[in-house]
Subunit: 218 residues, 2 copies
Amino acid sequence: MVLLSGGLDSATVLAMARDAEFDCYALSVDYGQRHAVELAAARRVAEALGATEHRIMAVDFAHIGGSALTDRSIAVPTAASEGIPSTYVPARNTIMLSLALAWAEVLQAHDIYLGVNSVDYSGYPDCRPEFIAAFDRLARLATKAGVEGAEITVRAPLMQLSKAQIIRHGVALGVDYSLTVSCYQADSAGRACGRCDSCRLRREGFVAAGVADTTRYA
Amino acid sequence: MVLLSGGLDSATVLAMARDAEFDCYALSVDYGQRHAVELAAARRVAEALGATEHRIMAVDFAHIGGSALTDRSIAVPTAASEGIPSTYVPARNTIMLSLALAWAEVLQAHDIYLGVNSVDYSGYPDCRPEFIAAFDRLARLATKAGVEGAEITVRAPLMQLSKAQIIRHGVALGVDYSLTVSCYQADSAGRACGRCDSCRLRREGFVAAGVADTTRYA
């Protein structure tokens, strides 16, 4: 089970899970995100990287608001800020992992991959190793498979990698990053703004990796 | 924040949270359940018990299947079974708590109530005290509020109570149980089958509590 956003990190994770010879079921979540073109990107990435199946699940929590990514009245910041930025979406990774856990249980899949990273990241609490460890523990307690002794494992192979290292891994595994969209406010054609936090981290990653940046900028 | 299914237990929990002088925001989740009349019951209960606001959030995970409650090709069992029954919905409480956590964070609410119980219950893994403790821990790690030091607490006040004790609590707090629907396969008017596991636990609870059973049976 691979959580696939359509961005650079999760595309790399899907390639890593395929490289580990898993049959991969990719899950994307439509949570009313401003950058819905990333869902189209996820579909392209799932196909290009040979996912066995790709599903998009909708959760209508956009109207809860509380984030620049789901509430269009809050601007996406283009400068670095102190603390947790306004692009943080309350409990997003908890919700996505919960949905992945449900589908994994039905499929009898015991490995859940996601592309969180705590090096070149935006400071979200639910991208930290201690969060992943807590969800891993929860997953075993929450499910029938866990109770029956299955080793359900949440895998975050990018956790300790820099963006440049992630990109080099992906390139080695044949990921075509031009298919991916990282920008928080990409236009309807999927072209990146080049200015938001996510664009900045991505652009600097390509430079540091010494890899040509194939991102399409607006 | 109160997770409100429309059944007997969560109605009692809402009454307990109100009795503790909380402003209560009630959240129901439409997960494609067979017994969707419980959502109408939740609306009635939220109004009768004075919730400040009641929301129903939809998650389209019905097509994932894997449960008699979301897949109509699986019959609801009417006899006790060994192990975890087919009415178990994969990761349901994890998903519901995640959604509650998201809304709670936006509201800056730090107390999340839910009506799980490990005495007169159906054997679901995500109703056990160790599951609740693990989610409680996760909630503090997953959120901005938690990182900033807020004491986010998942409260399951029914955990160690028998169904009869729950009913006596509710009656003392003025809960009108005729508004609630517990049946896994209630008809479209909300009348209970009287035969499924949930009906059986509920009926026996009223008898043991010495309280008249106002449930409407088909």
